[in-house]
C-alpha cells in the first residue's frame, strides 16, 4: 500500500532523471565521451531556474535560461577538450569544479534557494504527481522528437559518425572538433533542462543537487538499453528505453527505501547498480564463455 502511494512520485521523478539521462546518452553513447560536466550542469540548471523564478520571471523563460546555461557549460568542456587538447574526462572534471563556484554565485552564496510553488507558476511539483507525470511526459516526448529529427539531418549524422568513427569522419570532411563541442553543448543543455524541472518538482535548488548525477543517469541508460536494444536497436527506441530506465530506477529506489534502507546509503546503491551493468558483460566474456570449435571455413583462411 505504501509502495503504491509512492509510485506516482517515483514515476514523476523517474521521468525527470530519464530526461537528464538522455543528455548523458548523447555524450556517453553518441559522442563516446564520459562527460562529467553533467554533475555540475544539472545543478546549474536547477539554480538558474530557482533564482529566476524567485525574481518573478516567467517559468518558460526560466527553463530556457537553464537550458542555455547548460549548453554554455557543455561548450566550455568541449573547448577545453578540442581547443586546448585536454583529455575529455579531465575537461569534464575541470568544468564541473568551475560550475560549483558558478552555482554558488548564482545562488548568491546560499547553499539552498527555495521555490514557492504557490507564489510562482511552476510546471511540475511533487504535491501534484499526476499532473507532473503528464507534463513531464509531454516534455520528454517533445525532446525525443526534436532529437530524433535532428540526429537524422546532414549535421546530425556527422555528429553520430564523429563518435562512432572519428577517422572516417575526418576523411569525409567532417569537422570533428566542432561536432564534439556542439554535441556536448546539446547534451548539457538537456541535462540543465532536467535540472530546471527538478528544482520545480522538489521546490528548491541545492548546491549539492548534482552530486553523483552521472551515475544515476548511467544506471538509467544501462537499465533502459538492456531492454530496448533487444526490442528494436534504433535511436528512438533507445531514447524511450533510457526514459523507461529512469522510471525503473526510481521505482527501485523508492522500493528499497520502503524496505528500510537509510537514504544515506542510496548513492552506494546507485554505484553498485552501474558497476554491475558495466562488469557483467566483461565477466561473461572473460570467464563464462565456452570455447567453440573453430569452423572449418575460418580455419582455412589466413595470409
Amino acid at each position: 500500500m505504501y509502495f503504491m502511494n509512492a509510485l506516482p512520485g517515483a514515476v514523476a521523478e523517474g521521468l525527470i532523471w530519464g530526461l537528464m539521462a538522455i543528455g548523458v546518452y548523447i555524450s556517453y553513447k553518441i559522442l563516446d565521451i564520459a562527460d562529467l560536466t553533467v554533475d555540475g550542469s544539472i545543478c546549474t540548471g536547477a539554480c538558474v531556474c530557482a533564482v529566476l523564478l524567485g525574481l518573478g520571471v516567467n517559468v518558460w523563460i526560466c527553463i530556457l535560461a537553464a537550458l542555455i546555461s547548460g549548453a554554455i557549460a557543455g561548450t566550455v568542456t568541449g573547448l577545453l577538450h578540442t581547443a586546448l587538447g585536454i583529455p575529455s574526462i579531465l575537461a569534464g572534471i575541470l568544468t564541473q569544479l568551475m560550475l560549483y563556484s558558478v552555482n554558488l554565485l548564482i545562488l548568491g552564496g546560499r547553499s539552498l534557494v527555495a521555490v514557492d510553488h504557490r507564489a510562482n507558476h511552476v510546471l511540475v511539483h511533487m504535491s501534484d504527481n499526476p499532473s507532473a507525470i503528464v507534463t513531464m511526459g509531454i516534455l520528454v516526448t517533445a525532446v525525443i522528437i526534436v532529437l530524433w529529427q535532428f540526429f537524422y539531418t546532414e549535421l546530425g549524422l556527422t555528429i553520430k559518425s564523429t563518435g562512432d568513427n572519428p577517422d572516417m569522419s575526418r576523411a569525409q570532411g567532417v569537422n570533428v572538433k566542432f561536432n564534439k563541442v556542439l554535441g556536448l553543448a546539446i547534451a548539457n543543455g538537456i541535462v540543465a533542462l532536467a535540472g530546471a524541472m527538478l528544482a520545480q518538482y522538489k521546490g528548491s535548488a541545492n548546491i549539492n543537487d548534482g552530486r553523483g548525477a552521472i551515475v544515476i543517469a548511467l544506471a538509467a541508460i544501462f537499465i533502459g538499453l538492456s531492454v530496448s536494444l533487444k526490442i528494436k536497436p534504433n535511436f528512438v527506441c533507445s531514447l524511450i528505453g533510457v526514459i523507461g530506465g529512469g522510471i525503473v530506477y526510481y521505482i527501485v529506489y523508492n522500493f528499497v527505501i520502503l524496505l528500510g534502507l537509510k537514504t544515506d546509503y542510496l548513492k552506494m546503491l546507485s554505484a553498485i547498480i552501474v558497476t554491475l551493468f558495466l562488469a557483467v558483460p566483461y565477466l561473461k566474456a572473460e570467464y563464462f564463455t565456452k570455447q567453440k570449435p573453430v569452423p572449418v571455413a575460418q580455419a582455412k583462411r589466413g595470409g
Partner: protein
C-alpha cells in the same frame, strides 16, 4: 594534380627514437595518373600519405593539390579534394551506422552539413544501384549497420565512399593488406574499375610488388623518405619483380627489406 616539393618530416626529433620519415621528397603527379607506391618497412610510404591528408604538419616543404596550397590546411577541409581508403578495414566506415548513412555522409564531403534530411529517398535508390555494381549482395542490405559487414565488404563500401563525390586525388593505403588473398583480389578489381570509370588520379601504396606492377601507369619506389625509383608508361609495363629488386639495390645501395613484398 598533386605537387609535393621538398617535403621533410622527422618524428621524435632530438630523442633516441628520432626517425627521419620524409627527407626532401619531391613528387609531381599528373591529372589521370594511377601511381603505385612500393617500399620497404619504414620507407615513408604511409608518412607520405598522411602528409597529403594533413594528419600532421610537415617540418618543411609544400603540398599542392590542383594548384591549391594545402600545406597548412586542416585535414577536414582538404578532405574535400581527397578520397581515402585506409589499411585497416575498420577505419573507413562508421560501424554503428547504416550503409546508406555512411554513403550519404561521404556524398556530402566538402559541402556544408545542413539541417535538412541526412539521407533522401532518391539517394537510397541511387546507392542501391551503386552497391549492386560491387556484386557483393550489399544492395539488399542498405539499411544494415556497417559493423555487420566483413572486412572485404567494408573496404568495398569505403572505396565507394571515397569515389562517390569525385575526389581530385584518390589515396589507397595498402587497402588490401588486411584481407585474405581472394577478397584482396576482388577489392583490387573493384578499385581498378572505379578508378577507370571515374578517371581518378590515384596514389596506391602496396606491399605487393606484383600488384604494384600490375596496376596503374606509373610506379615509384621509396627508401629512407625519398623516391629512389620512378618508372612509367611502356617501361613500367615490361617490369618484373626481379627488375624491381635489382633497380632498388642499384638506387639505394641496400637490400630490399620487406618479406611480405617479395613473398606476396
Amino acid at each position: 594534380m598533386l605537387k609535393i616539393t621538398n617535403l621533410h618530416k622527422t618524428f621524435n626529433p632530438g630523442t633516441v627514437n628520432e626517425k627521419k620519415a620524409l627527407d626532401g621528397l619531391d613528387l609531381h603527379i599528373k591529372d589521370g595518373d594511377f601511381v603505385t607506391v612500393i617500399g620497404g618497412n619504414g620507407a615513408g610510404k604511409s608518412t607520405l600519405l598522411n602528409a597529403i591528408c594533413g594528419v600532421w604538419k610537415p617540418d618543411c616543404g609544400r603540398i599542392e593539390i590542383d594548384g591549391v596550397d594545402v600545406t597548412n590546411m586542416p585535414d577536414y577541409k582538404r578532405a574535400a579534394y581527397l578520397g581515402r581508403v585506409f589499411q585497416d578495414p575498420m577505419k573507413g566506415t562508421a560501424p554503428d551506422m547504416e550503409i546508406a548513412e555512411n554513403l550519404a555522409i561521404a556524398a556530402r564531403r566538402g559541402t556544408k552539413r545542413r539541417l535538412v534530411k541526412g539521407v533522401r529517398k532518391a539517394e537510397r535508390e541511387e546507392y542501391r544501384q551503386l552497391l549492386a555494381t560491387l556484386e557483393l549482395g550489399l544492395e539488399d542490405r542498405i539499411g544494415a549497420k556497417v559493423g555487420l559487414l566483413s572486412g572485404g565488404q567494408r573496404q568495398a563500401v569505403t572505396l565507394l565512399m571515397a569515389s562517390l563525390k569525385r575526389p581530385k586525388l584518390l589515396l589507397l593505403d595498402e587497402h588490401t593488406a588486411a584481407l585474405d588473398p581472394k577478397t584482396a583480389a576482388k577489392v583490387l578489381e573493384i578499385t581498378d574499375r572505379i578508378v577507370e570509370e571515374n578517371k581518378l588520379t590515384t596514389l596506391m601504396i602496396t606491399h605487393n610488388m606484383k600488384d604494384a606492377i600490375a596496376h596503374g601507369n606509373r610506379l615509384i619506389m621509396m627508401s629512407d623518405g625519398k623516391i629512389v625509383v620512378d618508372v612509367e608508361g611502356e617501361e613500367k609495363k615490361k617490369l618484373t619483380v626481379e627488375d624491381l629488386l635489382h633497380l632498388f639495390v642499384k638506387a639505394s645501395g641496400d637490400e630490399f627489406v620487406d618479406d611480405r613484398a617479395v613473398l606476396g
